[in-house]
């Protein structure tokens, strides 16, 4: 409200001063003032304006025009000249706002822009950047550039890192072109030289990778010089990403023009580093299949948001779409159809696709629960039952949702088969391989229903009570991890910790007996009210936080779950402890497939992205204009993000609270 005082009333006063017919009176009983000023025909505008004086004083000011024609039927404007086009004005403190009147022709006043995106790029201390960098100082001026005139200088890049960095710059150019929907029509020759400095030749991406970068943009005369300096290629990639956040097209969203020019801030300095090293997104491609093209688009969105872990929950009891060259039965018996599986070559390509976008792919083969279809062929091949309760009809007794299925820990062939699967995955993943063993929601009733398992437990001297089954469960993980380690070592790698979901097994009192804190990182998906995260921190376990009641993207569609909008997701803070590696946001796909993927994930996942990168204490209101810009950015890059508000609110920052 206070903003209105400054912007509009400034204009209003100047007009009233110019115009001696101005008059003012007070009407009504609730502190309302209406000013009706009669202006000359040139001031054909109406302003609505408010002033905060005490509490809600509302000042309505109308500037009326004497029109020669008052006959309503004589008013038809020629539809051919019709143009409801608007311009956007930046108030540095309050954001961008659409003009009150449709404008004809172009505007050259300062702080007035043809497109909202351009206004947002300039407006505010952090412009249109998402996630917000640690520090930034941005110029208020922009320069028109063209992607064809951008040159990258790799002289300060180690030879080992050059190839991937070149690929990264190709993505940058593509993202810039996307701002103009594929065609930057305004060709300018302004040279843009981007000097890249990378210190480390290493291409590994882990929690220890330094993702820090420094970005500097300067323009002297008719040359734009950009310097991006980083320890690693991944830091440099983030710098390139930020560079695209300093640019915008001048074509309005609802335009019919073909013409499109690309603008960059004339000067900028950005220093930036992430708060958390693990900034992830879980995608479930088992309940419903997600085509590769949709997964890649999701990774595009992650890259735009500087998220760095794609946690691929690729299998579940429903389906097993991940091809294994060594065990073709998994997909033969587990995929929904020949069109709904991920070929090894496609997965390799995806991993590379993610890597050049600074994203590490974590494959999760959930076990021992959440495994069924894909494992039901054991008997036919002489391996016995690899899984039990598979597709059992009385599912309510044997699992939490149909179809049931749990691996058979009594059958040693399971570990042999797992090892062959693990070998294929080790071959796929870049070193050091990050693997997720699942480990959640073991239904003890399922195992208890299997004679083979109960006999095995008796033979091992385990009671068939809760603790006995927990031991069996832990034994499964221990044996499976051993197989994973064997394959890692065989491939020349070193033992690495693996990720595991929180469960009854990870409760304090049990976890110390069963899971080695150097070998397991616990992904805690308990609700916010649960003390587990803090307890595990105290016990010294490394954790990743994914509070289900707030960071699950499928909630609100089913049962009693509740939808969290981006603001609520954004508002949640994680503990700042070295053992809390970061967080993830999750899309489980029971009620979502590729048709609704984007709108479910974006832009809400980006709220978590900024939480994990910037970890700001300021609330969502301050972030909203940048979030609106980021949503537009994702749209320009071919995603289908949900809208946050009516477009009117996007056009009037801070007017809709």
């Amino acid at each position: 409200m206070e903003r209105k005082d400054k912007i509009i009333c400034g204009i209003l006063l100047s007009q009233i001063l110019k115009n001696t017919h101005g008059s003012c009176w007070r009407v009504g009983s609730d502190s309302t003032i209406v000013i009706v000023a009669r202006a000359g025909p040139l001031l054909a505008s109406q302003y609505v304006c408010n002033i905060k004086m005490g509490w809600h004083w509302v000042l309505l000011a109308s500037v009326l025009v004497h029109s020669a024609r008052s006959d309503v039927h004589g008013l038809k404007t020629n539809p051919d000249t019709y143009k409801p086009s608007w311009v956007y004005k930046c108030d540095p403190e309050y954001g961008c706002e659409r003009s009150d009147q449709p404008s004809q022709g172009h505007v050259n006043a300062t702080n007035v822009f043809k497109s909202l995106d351009l206004c947002r790029t300039v407006c505010g201390r952090f412009g249109g950047m998402w996630p917000r960098p640690v520090t930034a100082s941005l110029s208020q001026n922009t320069i028109k550039i063209h992607p064809n005139s951008i040159r990258f200088d790799f002289r300060d890049v180690p030879l080992e890192a050059k190839e991937i960095l070149v690929e990264m710059t190709h993505i940058t150019i593509a993202n810039l072109v996307a701002e103009c929907a594929g065609n930057v029509t305004d060709v300018v020759a302004t040279p843009v030289v981007v000097r890249l400095t990378v210190k480390s030749p290493s291409l590994t991406l882990t929690w220890d990778t330094n993702e820090e970068y420094y970005l500097d943009v300067q323009s002297k005369g008719d040359i734009v010089t950009v310097h991006i300096s980083a320890e690693t290629v991944y830091g440099a990639r983030h710098g390139l990403e930020t560079l695209t956040h300093l640019t915008a097209s001048d074509r309005p969203v609802y335009s019919t023009e073909q013409r499109c020019g690309l603008h960059i801030l004339a000067a900028a300095t950005v220093r930036d580093r992430p708060a958390y090293g693990h900034r992830g997104l879980v995608l479930d491609s088992s309940r419903n299949f997600m085509p590769m093209v949709d997964i890649k688009r999701t990774i595009d969105g992650m890259a735009a948001t500087k998220m760095n872990v794609f946690h691929w929950h690729v299998t579940d009891s429903h389906s097993f779409p991940l091809e294994s060259k060594s065990v073709p039965q998994f997909t033969k018996y587990g995929a929904y159809s020949p069109h709904e599986l991920y070929r090894t070559e496609e997965v390799q390509e995806l991993i590379q696709y993610a890597k050049v976008r600074g994203v590490r792919v974590v494959i999760e083969i959930d076990s021992p629960a959440h495994a069924g279809n894909g494992w039901q062929w054991g008997k036919d091949y002489g391996y016995g039952d690899l899984a039990v309760c598979v597709n059992a009809e009385s599912w309510r007794q044997l699992c939490i949702q149909p179809p049931c299925g749990q691996l058979n820990p009594a059958n040693q062939a399971v570990y042999r088969v797992l090892r062959r699967l693990y070998k294929d995955i080790v071959d796929l993943l870049p070193k050091p391989a990050l693997f997720h063993v699942g480990g959640d929601e073991v239904h003890l009733g399922c195992w208890n229903s299997s004679e083979e398992i109960v006999n095995y437990m008796k033979h091992k001297g385990l009671d068939t009570d809760v603790e006995g089954f927990i031991s069996l469960w832990a034994e499964f993980h221990s044996k499976a991890l051993q197989k994973w380690d064997e394959e890692i070592l065989a491939s020349g790698g070193e033992k690495q910790p693996v990720l595991i979901w929180s469960s009854e097994l990870t409760q304090p009192g049990r976890i110390q007996n069963y899971l080695d804190k150097d070998r397991y990182i616990i992904e805690v998906w308990e609700p916010l009210s649960s003390p587990l995260l803090t307890q595990l921190m105290r016990l010294g376990y490394k954790t990743i936080s994914i509070p289900k009641d707030i960071w699950y993207l499928d909630h609100g569609l089913w049962g009693k779950t509740k939808y969290s909008n981006w603001r609520r997701m954004y508002g949640h803070l994680l503990p700042r402890e070295p053992t809390v590696l970061g967080g993830e946001v999750a899309l489980w796909s029971e009620y979502i497939d590729a048709q609704a993927l984007d709108t479910r994930v974006w832009p809400r996942a980006a709220a978590v992205g900024e939480r994990l990168w910037s970890d700001l204490r300021s609330g969502f209101a301050a972030a909203e204009p940048r979030m609106q810009r980021h949503r537009a950015r994702l749209l320009a890059r071919g995603l289908r993000p949900d809208v946050l508000t009516p477009a009117w609110c996007a056009n009037h920052d801070s007017r809709c609270f």
Binding site: P84, H318, V327, S589
Partner: protein
């Protein structure tokens, strides 16, 4: 009627060919045969497994030519079961199993008797031919031809999805001759009194199939085409369209107003999104596209009679609907038995679009436009309300109404909007009059403008949103003969029922059941928003307010007369929805409403409803709509297993 379903394609594949894919054996004989076959298979399998169990394990790879999964579906106990293809000697696809096994797969479920064959024959889109046996006018005949082309185009779209599948040896495609007779209405439009009933019969005659569709109106006949198209499916294994060999369907809707509202003002939707929505509505036999075209946020409708509204009110030149585009929507809808109810909301829910009055010398057409603090003057930002005392307002409204009627051809139903007036806004300017009297006065004058726009005659039913004006003592002052009320309040609010008890014709859109926008939190802060949670398709389906007890018994008002419920409507407001997210938000939930209003079966979301809706979702998908899934694909693959 159900016999030897799963043998249809199998017989064809094994080369017994010809028209007789499926010998009509008695149910018992078939069951016995099946049992025997199953027993043999089981015995063989057991024997084989015993053989293999003893030996060493088989190698994991190189057993198959590849990792290709292939499933076959078998109808057992009226349920389709998924089995690995390797275990069966022949393949049956899921759609074929679903169509031939147990329940019908029609959506919405017809209200009259239905009998369906359980044998299928191959057809092709090109093999469908129309014969108009009777039509009251050339216009009706022309529309039948056009609607039939749509049917054929839908089938062609399905055919194109065959891709490079190998075509099974199932014999040549049969021709389908569709003989249609319309006796009755000469009006092709969906009218409030249109008889939408139809009768469909499909019979083999020699080597061709003959479908007879009889209806009392073009719209009824069109529904018959739609049902006929639901008897056709794509068999991916056969690589061909199949159709049930014979069918009879006798059908008529329970409610005559079956609507879907789309708000294109809070966020703009390109015309293609609207066209696709119309297509999806037609597939579900919804008959009213309620287009909430304008609101305080924007006015995208570019009217010839008042171009200033869009000029000042549209989000941009690329966010307008031209009259040509509206006509294209109307045309598309008309051929699909759908009326377009174009609503320009007034007197509240207006904004910047009306702010040009002073500059044009017309005085203030609207007050409180984008006023702050908004929360004092409207329900959501930005505010704006028409000036009820400015005669120019009514002149402009009259022109808008006349152009809407001309554009849509709908003149027996009209929607004036009329909700959520801020009394405070008006009291600032007119402290001499009770704002609700102003509101009542506005409504009367808008009604007179509508009558003038409609050639001096009031539409049969002029809809108003329920509001404070539709509560006592104002409700009594509204003419029960002229007005209908669209009841959007919660079903348990007393004022929602009072409207029905007072004898008003009504369209039900209860916010607690049929608002599709709820459940996504507030769009202004981090709270839950005003109308959460999300309404699942099951909740939408199970809402039957008309069976609730009222004072005089189920569905009976105070005066002893029955409630005059014309139908219902699902509302998709767009504060938090834009192009790209539309389909998955609306579908298949609006389809659930469609069956509630068409069939109104007393059962709730029973097992067969899940399965039929899943099939309907696949149909929508095939027509290019992007509906959300009902559940994991595994549940589709294993019908009944998730229930």
């Amino acid at each position: 009627m159900k016999c030897c379903g799963e043998t249809g394609v199998r017989a064809a594949r094994s080369g017994r060919g010809g028209a007789a894919y499926c010998a009509r054996v008695a149910r018992l004989r078939r069951a016995l045969l099946l049992l025997a076959a199953a027993a043999c298979t089981a015995a063989a399998l057991l024997y084989w497994r015993q053989q293999t169990d003893g030996s060493a394990t088989r190698p994991l790879h190189n057993v198959f030519s590849g990792a290709e999964p292939e499933w076959t579906w078998l109808c057992r106990n009226e349920r389709c079961e998924r089995l690995p293809a390797a275990e069966m000697s022949s393949l049956q696809s899921l759609p074929t199993c679903n169509m031939l096994c147990a329940s019908t797969q029609l959506w919405p479920q017809p209200t009259g008797p239905v009998s369906l064959a359980t044998a299928a024959v191959p057809v092709s889109a090109a093999g469908f031919a129309l014969e108009v046996i009777a039509a009251p006018t050339h216009d009706v005949a022309d529309h039948l031809e056009d609607a039939f082309s749509i049917l054929r185009e839908d089938l062609r779209t399905l055919e194109r999805q065959i891709g490079d599948t190998k075509r099974g040896d199932i014999g040549p495609a049969h021709e389908v001759i569709v003989r249609v007779s319309v006796n009755g209405s000469q009006d092709v439009r969906m009218r409030i009194d249109t008889d939408e009933s139809y009768k469909l019969s499909l019979r083999p005659e020699g080597s061709t199939l003959v479908a007879h569709i009889t209806a009392q109106s073009f719209c009824g006949a069109r529904h018959g085409f739609e049902t006929l198209s639901q008897l056709v499916w794509l068999d991916p294994y056969a690589g061909s369209l199949l159709i049930l060999e014979a069918a009879t369907v006798d059908d008529a809707p329970r409610f005559r107003y079956r609507g879907l509202l789309l708000d294109t003002a809070r966020n703009y939707f390109p015309i293609g999104e609207i066209m696709r929505t119309i297509d999806a509505m037609a597939a579900c036999k919804l008959n009213t596209f309620h287009w909430h075209v304008s609101d305080s946020q924007s006015f995208p409708l570019r009217l010839k009679s008042a171009p200033q509204l869009a000029q000042h009110g549209a989000y941009g030149p690329g966010a307008v609907y031209t009259t040509e585009e509206v006509q294209a929507v109307v045309r598309r809808a008309r051929l699909r038995g759908i009326r377009v109810l174009l609503e320009v909301d007034a007197p509240a829910h207006v904004g910047r679009a009306w702010a040009w009055g002073p500059q044009a010398g017309l005085g203030n057409l609207a007050f409180c436009v984008e006023v702050e603090p908004w929360s004092a003057y409207c329900g959501e930002p930005p505010c704006g309300q028409l000036n009820p005392r400015n005669p120019h307002v009514y002149e402009i409204l009259e022109r808008i109404y006349a152009e809407i009627i001309e554009l849509t051809g709908v003149d027996e139903i009209f929607h004036l909007g009329g909700d959520e007036v801020s009394e405070r806004c008006w009291s600032q300017y007119f402290n001499d009059t009770d704002p609700r009297d102003l509101w009542m006065d506005f409504t009367r004058r808008a009604m007179r403008a509508l009558e003038r726009a409609n050639g001096g005659k009031a539409p049969e039913m002029t809809l108003l949103w329920s509001s404070r004006l539709t509560r006592s003592p104002y409700l009594e002052r509204l003419d029960v003969k002229k007005y209908g009320i669209q009841v959007w309040g919660a079903s348990r609010w007393p004022e929602s029922r009072a409207v029905l008890d007072a004898g008003f014709r009504s369209v039900i859109s209860h916010v607690d059941a049929w608002y599709l926008d709820c459940g996504f939190g507030s769009w202004r802060d981090s709270s839950d928003g005003h109308c959460g949670p999300y309404r699942s398709w099951q909740q939408i389906y199970e809402h039957r307010p008309w069976v609730e007890e009222s004072s005089g018994g189920p569905g009976v008002g105070l005066t002893g007369e029955s409630w005059r419920i014309e139908g219902g409507e699902a509302c998709q407001w767009s504060e938090q929805l834009a192009a790209g997210g539309l389909d998955a938000r609306v579908w298949p939930r609006a389809a659930a409403l469609a069956e509630r209003l068409w069939s109104d079966r007393a059962e709730g979301a029973a097992a067969d409803v899940y399965l039929r809706l899943d099939t309907q979702r696949a149909r929508l998908r095939a027509r290019g709509v992007r509906p959300a899934p009902l559940w994991p694909r595994w549940c589709t693959h294993n019908p009944h297993a998730c229930l």
